[in-house]
């Protein structure tokens, strides 16, 4: 075969396979716009609004310990947290993990908390952090709300992937049907963030079985964790049918049709919904090694059947 005909064949192959792959233009026009009304975006963008919906629909989510609506509420919230251990402070409208403060045990003797790394966190510092969040420092807005959640202890299987924090499951749903799923694992290289572009690890999960079957790191398929060497493939995720079930119920709780539902599984193998995203990214296709096209068709067929 000549070089030219090989090139032609390759281009033909690319053109034939591209029908299955969703680019941003197609995602927006075919998935996001028809299914997600723009006026409902706040339900996904504001984590507190989403949690209210989840609570009303009985979708399990990490317990909310306190909400800080304004500057006036900061001292009360700090006092209420005094003596409590293991909680997380989050901005309701934060993006990219900014403003999230993970707090460990209360040290009664010192009168302060210990952060994840062991360094002390005084009530005064916590109060200032809450005030910053309320002022919108982490949200690029004029103001925001801060809320405090019980810190979720991850299931050992997930803790084995990344010990320093949470790695979550992303389930993409179309009109409440799961379409594709992956685990996003932070690495030391990614600075503890699960963002795949910053060196995070993506692990594809088979919807039917809950088994991991592919892992991607910096665009390359890998079989082991690039830092710990832990095996990544063939893992059987705990409570998989329950995970899919909470993803479905979370999607049904909001009037948004195309979602990325972020789920964590706690130490007792209970799935909890962390948040939802109304414009889920497309990298999940690379992690799964296949385009969204057939997966969407399969998901909607399954629903019809």
């Amino acid at each position: 075969m000549s070089a030219l005909s090989r090139a032609v064949a390759r281009v033909r192959g690319v053109l034939a396979r591209r029908a299955a792959v969703y680019g941003i233009n197609r995602r927006n026009l075919a998935l996001v716009y028809p299914n997600n009304d723009r006026r409902h975006y706040p339900l996904a963008d504001d984590k507190l609004l989403a949690k209210e919906r989840f609570q009303a629909a009985g979708v399990p989510a990490p317990e909310t310990l306190a909400v800080c609506e304004g500057l006036y509420a900061v001292p009360g919230v700090v006092e209420a947290l005094r003596g409590r251990s293991q909680f997380v402070v989050k901005p309701a409208n934060g993006a990219g993990g900014g403003g999230i403060l993970v707090v460990g045990a209360w040290d009664a003797e010192a009168g302060c908390w210990r952060k994840a790394g062991g360094e002390p966190l005084s009530p005064r510092t916590l109060g200032r952090h809450l005030a910053d969040v309320v002022f919108g420092v982490h949200s690029n807005q004029l103001e925001d709300r801060a809320f405090v959640e019980r810190r979720v202890e991850p299931h050992p299987l997930f803790a084995g992937l990344w010990g320093d924090g949470l790695c979550d499951l992303r389930v993409v749903t179309l009109r409440t049907s799961p379409v594709m799923a992956m685990i996003r694992v932070p690495t030391a290289e990614s600075g503890g963030r699960a963002n795949l572009h910053q060196g995070g690890l993506g692990i594809a999960v088979d919807l039917a079985t809950g088994r991991t079957f592919r892992a991607l790191h910096r665009g390359r398929a890998v079989e082991r964790h690039p830092e710990s060497g832990a095996p990544l493939l063939g893992l059987e995720l705990p409570a998989w049918p329950a995970v899919l079930d909470v993803a479905r119920r979370a999607a049904a709780a909001v009037p948004l049709g195309y979602l990325g539902v972020d789920v964590v599984v706690d130490r007792e193998a209970r799935p909890l919904v962390l948040e939802i995203n109304a414009r889920p990214g497309l990298e999940i296709q690379n992690v799964n090694g296949r385009g969204l096209g057939p997966a969407l068709a399969a998901a909607t067929d399954g629903r019809a059947a």
């Binding site: 192959g13 690319v14 792959v21 026009l29 420092v137 910053q198």
Partner: protein
Amino acid sequence: MALTHPHKLGLTVLALVLGAAGLMAYKVRALGYRLADILPVRQYEVTYALDLDGHGGDVRVRSFLPSSDAHQTISEERDQTSGLHLSQAMEGPNRVATWSGADVPNGARIRHAFKVLPRRVSYELPAGLEVPAAYPPSAAAWLRPEKEIQVDAPEIRATLQRIGADQGSVVERLRRIHALAASLQPRPFKGTTDALTALRLGESSCNGKSRLFVALARAAGIPARLVGGLILEPGAKRTSHQWVEAWVAGHWVPFCPTNGHFAELPERYLTLYVGDEALFRHTADVNFDYRFETHAALVPSPQAKATFTLFDVWGLFDRLRLPFALLRTVLMLPVGALLVVLFRNVVGMPTFGTFLPALLAASAGETGAGYGVLAVLLVVAAVAAVRWGLTRLELLHSPTLAILLAAVVLALLTTSMVAERAGIAALTRVTMFPIAVLAICAERFYLSLTEHGARAAGKELAGTLAVMLACHAVMSSLALQVLVIGFPEVLLLVVAANVYLGRWVGMRLSEYRRFRGLLGGAA
């Protein structure tokens, strides 16, 4: 997934395209618009740069200034002479300028500038026209011999017979005279050559050939005269040029035996005076130096301005005394925005917003694309420095942006100040870049930096600069600008393209790379 209403989309695009095409056809067929008129024409700015010094008494310099006629349009004439007084008078067809003053011990600088829009003119001469028996007095005056145009010399008469120009039609005689004058060997002689000398030597520069032409034409009974002027070309020069005009059927028809133009005047000839005159005369005892400085620029053709009258935005801007540059910027913005859409949605190149690259390109239209890039880089450097300094303070969003604006302003002013000190005049122009556009640029870059990190912000910056340069190349096309001014319905085509792109679900070029693993394109 199928589009909801593909036929609605098709109908909208079709209606827009047909509407634009219909309007254009109507203008061309019914209103006499000509598509050729959208092409820009070359306008020259000519400066007389005359310097004199070394004299203790009164000083006078006399020269000729051009007039508008069928061949050339003179405009925006201005005198920036220091120390001398300019007076003007008409002497026959010539406009004579005299700069005079008393005592210029430190010398004087005459700077007189004007703009010329020249056109090529050519004449169809009536083939059978006989030499008339009598002429009106104004033309008959140009039959007489002059000191250096020896009409009555026997050698001129003999030559006229030898080349057969003493009989036949006017055109035939002129053709033979033109051929003879043109056949003289060229000679780069700066001084004056009279008609006889040119004939005897068989070689001459332009003025000798032209005098020989005039002498022979007059001897043949056709009024003729010398014409003095310049051949327009960008740069500075001292060389002027001479050609001739002959009176044919009531018109002064141009000929240039030196460069072989018969009954035509090329575009680049600038007429300054007629008659056997010296271009400059000045009082004795001064050091006199002169040169002509010429700049060329493309401008819209006057025909376009005169005929593009439906929805006459051009006239509107003229009446409101708004500059042409603003008009073309406003009308080109949608075109620039379409280009940005192509880069973002088809190529997949990230930029700071949809409008910003087009706005930057429009702003750079005044200063040049290079300064636009420089101004953006300055802004980005200022934002990065301020962010680095402020990040520990964890300030609120709006005050942070206000600080950024102060930093941007200071960075621009400092750059101009340093540039001026260092004598880099061109660099001081970054201050002229519209601050509003740079402020948006600063905000976008800051947001990108905070939300997506340095790497993504850098990518967006590179994309913004690349798209801005592409926009600048397209938006600064004068032909395109005049097209949109004359045919604003072109913007309907831009809308149609955006409607189409607005429902286009194809993969972006960058996504072929991103999903190459899924597409099997990788080797």
